[in-house]
Symmetry: C2
């Protein structure tokens, strides 16, 4: 028996905007950040649950405020009870009627619920001495279905259908676990393709990606058509014909503009077009998908919840579903989304990068392979090579693949020293930075 005795939040920000890592058509200067939560119990095992919301800088404090609004649900509570029935715990948080008003089920408050839920899963996996993917893959179909809130889903997926999907995958779990450990899970890399990079840097990084074993790279597009054409030529020349190239517009376009723009890029053999327009625009995505077929449309990193994913699938608005570990309300909702994707036969290629998204989301893809869809066909996890050093269990990516973590937990635990250094505005990095900015002759920057 143990009790939750502390729920601690941290506003952690990395100054990534200074290198133009992560720059795209909508996000010119992201400072990759984590609204971080640590759940501490009085158990003698000393295990803690860690989770986060990924943001890109300003507003990270709004997310920590939202996480703090959830602490009354945890503090002083029996930890075993919270962890034993994670479906009930999810509903406890997501169905708070007063907090729900702030969404419902979207944006700051929903993402904060995700951080807390993921922290509890991290703790549950550590207590089980299993990596999260394996913990999930050892749960029975009945237990997994219990994790999902089917409200608003049953016109597309009933509990019975979800159970059928999971039961069908059950006999092959052991064999696929062995395959996963032997083969890894495919990745693709976005490292070469940021808008802020020069053509030389793009070409060099694209060649390195191929040498590293990746079968797909991704380029940011959407700011300037002529630039996009030139950068695609550069990338295609660098990687040769056998490597797939996806493009990502980060929501830059309207419907007609998206179709027109993509038409100009189609000759470069595009693997998919990602986030062509607003993530809220289900009908818009469907129109774009029809307009650019057979090029697949990919989206999901900003899709707010399972209800929008449901409609994207119902409307055939996406052909590649991109889950994100820290956008929806945590593992439970991603289990629902994986089940929806399996029901509709759509492949899942997670969004990652940012801070810790690779570390967290790999567990979901690996669980999906072992226990839900049962396939890696056409599937791969995004890989971006930065900030992994700040995590206690950084990803292991080599030979173009993610290799299954064996350490217990959900992957979201950050190094204590990194948290201390990059806490905003009082960590050492930001204090030093403020001093440097305040020094005579230093550049000052407006918001």
């Amino acid at each position: 028996m143990s009790t939750v005795i502390a729920v601690e939040t941290s506003d952690v920000r990395f100054p990534t905007s200074r290198e133009l890592d992560g720059s795209d058509a909508m996000n010119p200067d992201p400072d990759y950040s984590a609204a971080y939560v640590r759940v501490v119990t009085d158990s003698e095992d000393g295990l803690e649950g860690h989770g986060f919301v990924f943001t890109i800088g300003r507003g990270n404090d709004v997310e920590t405020a939202a996480i703090s609004a959830l602490t009354p649900y945890l503090l002083g509570r029996n930890a075993e009870e919270l962890l034993a029935d994670m479906g009930a715990t999810w509903k406890l948080l997501a169905h708070d009627s007063q907090l729900r008003w702030l969404g419902p089920e979207k944006g700051v408050m929903h993402m904060a619920i995700g951080a807390v839920i993921n922290a509890l899963w991290d703790l549950k996996a550590k207590r089980a001495r299993l990596p999260l993917w394996q913990l999930l893959a050892t749960m029975t179909p009945e237990e997994l279905v219990e994790l999902v809130d089917f409200r608003y889903l049953t016109d597309a997926l009933t509990p019975g259908e979800a159970l059928d999907i999971l039961r069908a995958a059950e006999p092959g779990r052991a064999e696929r676990t062995a395959r996963l450990l032997a083969e890894g899970y495919p990745g693709y890399t976005t490292t070469p393709g940021w808008l802020g990079y020069s053509d030389e840097k793009l070409a060099r990084l694209a060649r390195e990606a191929v040498a590293d074993g990746f079968k797909q790279i991704k380029l940011k597009v959407g700011a300037d058509l002529a630039d996009d054409v030139r950068r695609l030529q550069t990338a295609r020349a660098a990687v040769g014909p056998g490597i797939k190239i996806a493009v990502d517009a980060n929501q830059r376009w309207g419907v007609a503009e998206a179709i027109e723009w993509i038409t100009h890029l189609a000759s470069f053999d595009i693997a998919w077009v990602e986030e062509p327009t607003s993530p809220d625009d289900i009908l818009g995505h469907a129109a774009i998908a029809r307009g650019v077929a057979p090029i697949p449309v990919a989206t999901g990193e900003h899709v707010q919840n399972r209800i929008v994913f449901k409609q994207m699938l119902q409307a055939d608005a996406l052909q590649v579903l991109q889950i994100d570990a820290a956008r929806v309300a945590g593992v439970n909702e991603n289990v629902a989304i994986l089940l929806l994707a399996a029901k509709f036969g759509v492949r899942v290629c997670p969004h990652a990068g940012g801070v810790g998204l690779c570390e967290a989301v790999q567990h979901l893809s690996m669980f999906d392979f072992v226990a839900v869809s049962g396939t890696k066909e056409g599937r791969m996890i995004e890989f971006v090579d930065h900030l992994h050093e700040h995590f206690v269990v950084p990803i292991d990516v080599h030979g173009g693949c993610y290799w299954p973590p064996s350490a217990p937990g959900g992957g979201s635990e950050m190094q204590g020293a990194s948290i201390a250094e990059y806490t905003f505005p009082d960590g050492k990095f930001w204090r030093d930075d403020a001093q440097a900015q305040a020094a005579p002759g230093a550049l000052t920057e407006a918001v």
Copy 2:
């Protein structure tokens, strides 16, 4: 020339849950609250801009944190510049790439932008010595179109089409202004219909509503079918056959359940069914609308932005569009939504009630009548009779109508004494309350 010298937020909460005012199938115990913002300049006129996000209690502090995240865009800025081009000011706030990540364009952060934008409109109207509805109705079609962000809208509404709508309404503005002043704008009342009320109270309040001149009342439904049938019988008996009765499920149902439930209520001559399911479920609303036709489907109070409203209209998912003054990003986005509704020929019946929503949203309906749709046909503004005494310019509702405010501003300014009394947790009311709860023998309440 004046400068913004203060942006002050307040967490104001009214203990409405104790009376079960506002109770419905999804929100059993709302404490109606305002995350309130006051924009102060150094102008000698002493005029201030006031705005708010309406919430129902917990999480109101998350909204004030989100509003605070926007203050760097206002503090120290030239007020005339901010107010002169409200389209540019809207984009300044809504397009901040780092804050946008927290939505995008939805939930806590988007609502906070709405509070700030509405506060600026309040200030702009006060400076013009006009009530907001009249300020908007004196702007040229070109100026009004400039307020709207057409990104993600042009597949349904282009700037040219918006201009055509506004130009077509221009010649009749003076005549309709005169009619509005002479006739008022129709209201309907939700006061009788809260779930927590006894049948006797329901019947009494329903009769009073008719005596007060209302032509429509609304009942909350969705918790228990037998109760709903009995309450509809009670209400119908109380008001007689000539009065419309709408029902509101507050998102309680899935698609099939909604259709089935409404079938059981159809014999009571339902004026509309409101929020039958998730506000994110465009395709679900469309299916329900087909399933319950000819009963109209109404939704909007939780529709997150213009992009979802666009799709609701494209999919014929709603027949009554319910704008809300404090859900989307303020006046600008509501102008976009009014234009979309006009383009699709759908009537607009605003959501109101809460804290200050009546005071704020009436301006938008009145502007719509004068300068956009040009009609009041089938349209009415929700009326709930509580908390108006806290506003500097409370609504004037009598004879079943809203009467146009003549005081300058947007209606969102709360009495200073009310803010002081109900600020959470340090205002007098909540301090006294905490003391009472801490007293020996007092009931304590878990979250």
